[in-house]
Amino acid sequence: MVDVTIENLTKEFGQLVAVDDFSLTIEDGEFITLVGPSGCGKTTTLRCVAGLESSTSGQIKFGDHDVTDYPVQQRGIALLFQDIALYPHMSVRENMAYPLKLEGASKEKRNDRVREAAEMLQITDQLDKYPNELSGGQQQRVALGRSIVRQPTMFLFDEPMSDLDAKLKHELRPLFAEVTEKVGCPTMYVTHDQEEAMTMSDRIAVMNDGELEQVGTPNEVYNEPETAFVGEFIGRPNMEFFDASVSRRNGSLDIDIGDATYEIGANQALDQYDGGNVRIGIRPQDITVVEDPDDGLTADHVFDETLGDQTHSQFETPLGRITVVTPPQFRGNESQYGLQLEPDYMKTFDPDSGLRVD
């Protein structure tokens, strides 16, 4: 098995640039998730890698092998679709054996492989049924089975769980992880669900508007977002953003957010913003609520969302509506508080480009 390299992939539909100069290497056995809002080009990227869509420019390599112009049939990939796409006129067994049948495998080999896959997916008792007799989760298992009866060079998932309910997702997630690990080839998983991305991936590639924003481990993209977009897209509740101004005092820099001032010491990266504006991002987990309204940002409590292990509290401030993660027992009762931002956890972004600057 081999690495998969995508180099400068661009895909245009007429005037529309769906994927813009996308480069990424997926190492052998690595599980990479392509995550982004709908319309960001992640599915188009996957379809180009699969060969279902021809790229406008760029290269796709399996190992040293340039497969850019190969038809789908010759790429030997496994692909799971959102709409599952089992053949309704074939039984589960026939569906799963179909790639082997096309390969011309013997009947015994087909039966053996199907049984093996069915055992791994716990669907041995479903083999003689037809797809329309199965639930959505079972159908996706069968589709997974169909894709692993042959050893694929690469595993592709196109939002395979988007149509399933939350409980099934939790059931299937570890199964997907287990199966892809057993198969052991490079895996590209496309989803718009950041939670899926965080929980399943070795690395996450965040896409926005056709471009790759950041690639990194789940911890990297969560803790050190390189752009404001990544900061906002990864992590729940969403990162809060503030417009802030930078000023110099006695050789160190101050950041003013509303009427609160935060001293951040000397910071070379921020020097160029002296006297100008930046965007500050901070996670709702890193904002503290204090009783004194004059301490930090003055905020009127609006309501609480109780989650049991924590509370999401909403505050109205002069800078807009802010969500804060508060302790489970916190009840705001619509009174006035002060919000304190932890300077250590503030991420500073350029107000125009959205790039991280601190």
């Binding site: 049939q73 089992l86 053949y87 169909r146």
Partner: protein, 315 residues
């Protein structure tokens, strides 16, 4: 029995709780059920049951056309039908016409549907053109072909003769006229098959083909394993419909050849007509028609039993 102490609600109408006529209890469902199917039932009786009954009755009588006094003769018309040489001949020719034109329409119709379904641009225009042939009235189609086959200035005639395919008037050629009639009918009716098949083809999701490609399927394998099984049910239905329609086809044959030359294109409906109006035997003509009807009925039931299209049509 419980005593109904509820006050009568005068705002309710008589049929909302049902009512009874003598001993017949009529519930609200019954009332509305019968009321809604009654018009259809009446219409069906008027345009189907009465004429069929009339035809069966006539087939049991000797009815000279110019002196329509019905003389009851029992089954002797049927005995006579089965003794007619031209009956068996017309049955054979009817079978040839039915099978031949159904096969050609199926082949051409499915092929056209596959082509239109593949096109990304111009498929609307092309399908409109194809379906036009089905919408042109039969009389226009036959006039068109009669003009084109005219021995003096017909363009098809000129082409056929120059290529050495036939000599003289094509439809006057004993050995070729049946083939010509089959082809002309197919020109008009293939679009029916296209319409049916295209609808079914368009209901196949692209995903099926993408999943098959991922599995390594070639174009032919995708056709064999996805397209064909998905349209098979529709094809079974369309074969049934076309076969029945073609076996009963009267207008296009009569307008082209009147069953000629000789009896080369005399199928069963043509025979029923000529027996009635040329041979002046209304009863005998009806007997032919009834035999035809029974033949279709039996073959239809057998076909539906063994081919069972409804089972194949399910998605």
């Amino acid at each position: 029995m419980a005593i109904d102490t509820e006050p009568v609600d005068r705002s309710r109408r008589f049929f909302e709780d049902g009512f009874s006529i003598g001993r017949f209890e009529i519930t609200s469902d019954d009332f509305w059920g019968w009321l809604t199917i009654l018009p259809v039932l009446a219409l069906y009786t008027l345009i189907a049951l009465i004429p069929i009954g009339f035809a069966i009755l006539a087939s049991l009588h000797n009815v000279p056309l110019l002196n329509p006094e019905w003389e009851f003769v029992g089954l002797s018309n049927y005995v006579e039908v089965f003794q007619l040489d031209r009956f068996w001949g017309s049955m054979w020719r009817g079978g040839v016409f039915m099978v031949g034109s159904t096969i050609i329409q199926l082949a051409v119709g499915v092929w056209m549907a596959l082509v239109i379904n593949k096109l990304t641009r111009g498929s609307r225009l092309l399908s409109t053109l194809v379906f036009t042939s089905y919408l042109i009235p039969t009389i226009i189609v036959t006039m068109m072909f009669l003009f084109m086959l005219d021995p003096y200035d017909g363009v098809l005639h000129a082409a056929g003769v120059r290529l050495g395919i036939w000599e003289g008037f094509l439809l006057g050629n004993t050995s070729l006229s049946m083939g010509a009639v089959i082809l002309i009918s197919s020109w008009k009716f293939s679009a029916f098959v296209t319409l049916f098949t295209l609808a079914q083809l368009q209901s196949i999701p692209d995903r099926f083909y993408e999943a098959a490609k991922v599995s390594g399927a070639t174009t032919w394998e995708m056709f064999r394993d996805i397209t064909l099984p998905r349209i098979f049910g529709a094809i079974l239905v369309v074969i049934f419909l076309r076969a029945v329609f073609m076996f009963n086809k009267y207008d296009i044959i009569w307008q082209l050849t009147q069953g000629g030359p000789g009896s080369a294109t005399t199928t069963m409906p043509i025979l029923a007509y000529t027996e009635t109006f040329d041979a002046n035997a209304y009863g005998l003509g009806n007997a032919v028609a009834i035999v035809m009807f029974l033949f279709l009925l039996v073959s239809g039931i057998l076909y539906l039993k063994y081919a069972n299209p409804s089972q194949e049509v399910q998605t």
